[in-house]
């Protein structure tokens, strides 16, 4: 097991080098001068422009900028935001809990509902339940996130007034931040009203963010279950006289979960892509919105550092999925 984890950790090194390269080159390929964008409408004189370019190191050859960037990273320095002058790492850490809270809620919702819907569709194959579930999944998968978000906002926030339009919590609620998770911190502070406000603010963004992963997980679960239900060991389980519930939820699901867990892991990357849109629409103060703002400001250091940190999160999730995969499937354990 230790060797398995070490192998996976070693693979992270080349991946990280690749990501630093992509992040570094990608932001510089975008048209727009960072110094001019920083100056805004006031503009900047040629001398000041040259001075700032030198100050930020933009006058250096690209390879030199890259080497400086990577050597900074090796010293734990992710750079400073040009616009806020704060370290990228602390800016990231300040926003990450918001994204993590939303992302966790979304992936839990998508996994629980997706797996349940997939199982139901598989055991009622060809019935109206199967048709409706898979039809809905297809619609969910095909729907543009921003459009779906706007529809929900119009219905639940504007027309019915059930949920807030944007933000993370009502502005009237104050409590100390301990974990960065509004749900937990409000409970720790003993403020049920704040907790309820956080829940209300989470509902729509969670639904929007969970929609595509939910559809994908439901379809994957259905096809995995159908395959597994045809296996001989399912017949063995039935021949032992086990209840259908035990055959499906233990014998079939455990095997069907193997591809489903991989899918859930892959959906985390999709979720981060979706978080950028969702956070922008709902003014959610997470890393998605932060990245979009930084890209439009050509805040090179933030985009580079942010991408790297997001990649680290994705790699961590993938490592967890690999370990989980080994736990579920004994055939890949200790290899």
């Amino acid at each position: 097991m230790v060797r398995f984890i070490l192998n996976r950790l070693l693979l992270i090194v080349p991946t990280f080098i690749g990501i630093t390269l992509v992040a570094f080159i990608f932001i510089r390929l975008l048209p727009g001068d960072p110094v001019i964008l920083m100056a805004g409408e006031r503009g900047v004189s040629a001398e000041r422009h040259a001075e700032l370019m030198a100050q930020f190191g933009f006058d250096q050859p690209l390879w030199k900028q890259y080497v400086d960037y990577v050597s900074g990273l090796l010293h734990g320095n992710f750079g400073y935001s040009y616009s806020t002058k704060k370290p990228v790492l602390s800016e990231f850490m300040a926003r990450f809990p918001a994204t993590l809270e939303l992302g966790l809620c979304a992936i839990v919702l998508a996994s629980v509902l997706g797996i349940a819907a997939g199982i139901l569709a598989a055991i009622r194959r060809g019935s109206w339940i199967d048709q409706v579930t898979m039809g809905t999944a297809l619609v969910g998968y095909s729907m543009p996130i921003f459009w779906w978000a706007l529809l929900l906002i119009i219905l639940f926030s504007t027309k019915l007034g059930w949920t807030p339009v944007s933000g993370r919590i009502a502005l009237t609620q104050f409590f100390p931040s301990v974990t960065g998770f509004m749900l937990i911190d409000s409970l720790l502070a003993g403020k049920p009203a704040a907790f309820w406000s956080a829940v209300q603010h989470l509902i729509l963004p969670t639904i929007v963010l969970a929609t595509i992963p939910l559809a994908v997980i439901a379809r994957q679960t259905r096809s995995a279950m159908l395959e597994v239900l045809g296996e001989v060991y399912i017949m063995t389980a039935k021949s032992k006289g086990l209840t259908p519930r035990r055959v499906i939820w233990l014998h079939a699901l455990r095997n069907a979960l193997i591809p489903v867990v991989t899918t859930i892991g892959l959906q985390v990357s999709v979720l981060i892509g979706g978080a950028i849109l969702t956070e922008t629409i709902f003014s959610w103060p997470g890393i998605g919105k932060w990245m979009i703002d930084s890209i439009s400001r050509r805040d090179y250091q933030v985009v580079q550092g942010g991408l790297l940190l997001i990649a680290a999160v994705v790699m961590f999730v993938n490592l967890t999925v690999d370990l989980l995969y080994g736990l579920i499937n004994p055939r890949v354990r200790y290899r």
């Binding site: 001989v232 039935k238 006289g241 095997n255 579920i328």
Partner: protein, 281 residues
């Protein structure tokens, strides 16, 4: 009274065009206590389908009909699903053709054996564990205590089939159906598994239904033989009469198609003796 008595069993499936496809047509089967019955026939003769119907293991799309389907005096056709489940694994058990595929790859061998005991007995965890060790010992698996923690992929095909036999015989059933239990195994292992089945059958006094297309296995093991072709019963006779005086043209075809009976000429095929399966529908 026969332990298992089936009269006029038919199994059909609805095709895409809405017609019924009959896999099994009006078969009678009866198995006595302690008897070894072999069901022989070529691939596609639906030997397995008939016995899966008896075990209640066919998918819901299968339409199973019979005038009589009785096990130990109980009418299988009128039992509730729960009552059927109480019988399965306890009084009637089945092992399948593919031993490795028959065991769930995600669970240890011990878990899979003890699961049957948990379902059908009142044994506590320690007693189940002890019984599982005894069962593995009985089927000839070395180091049974250590092997209980093994996963199916860590065992050979022959060992997996032994484990399947241990699972099937865990509650000493009165009827064991073995669906081509040696087909996927090496020749040397085939003999060992057959000997093991016969030993357990004799020790436990259980009836054994052996589905096979190996006439050598039939000659060595069976008391009585049913020959099946295209979902119909062609012959039902004792094993000596089958080889000495086969009545059905199809049985004669099967026997003459054995390489040792074929002489030096062309091996005969079924169509030399019996109408093709399509014509039987």
């Amino acid at each position: 009274m026969a332990l298992l008595e089936v009269r006029n069993l038919s199994v059909s499936f609805e095709t895409a065009s809405g017609d019924l496809f009959y896999a099994v047509r009006g078969i009678d089967i009866s198995v006595d206590v302690g008897e070894v019955l072999a069901i022989v026939g070529e691939s596609g003769s639906c030997k397995s389908v008939a016995m899966l119907a008896v075990m209640g293991l066919l998918p819901p799309v299968a339409i199973v009909k019979a005038d009589v389907m009785r096990f130990d005096g109980r009418d299988l056709l009128t039992l509730s699903p729960r009552q059927r489940r109480d019988l399965s694994g306890r009084e009637m058990a089945m092992i399948f053709q593919e031993p490795v595929a028959s065991l769930n790859p995600c669970f240890t061998v011990g878990f899979q054996i003890e699961e049957t005991l948990r379902k059908h007995t009142d044994l506590d965890a320690a007693a189940r564990h002890q019984r599982a060790i005894e069962l593995l010992q009985a089927v000839g698996i070395p180091e049974p205590e250590r092997r209980l923690g093994s996963f199916p992929h860590q065992m050979s095909g022959g060992q997996c089939q032994r484990v399947m036999i241990a699972i099937a015989t865990a509650c000493t059933p009165r009827l064991l159906i073995a669906d081509e239990p040696t087909t996927a195994l090496d020749v040397t292992v085939q003999k060992q598994v057959l000997d093991l089945l016969l030993r357990l059958q004799a020790e436990n006094g259980m009836a054994l239904v052996l589905i096979t297309h190996d006439m050598g296995v039939v000659a060595e093991t069976a008391d009585r033989v049913i020959v099946q072709y295209a979902g119909r019963k062609m012959e039902d006779t004792d094993v000596v009469s089958l080889f000495s005086a086969p009545e059905s043209p199809y049985t004669r075809a099967l026997l003459s198609a054995l390489p040792e009976n074929a002489g030096s000429g062309r091996l005969p095929t079924v169509s030399d003796f019996a109408p093709p399966a399509e014509a039987m529908k």
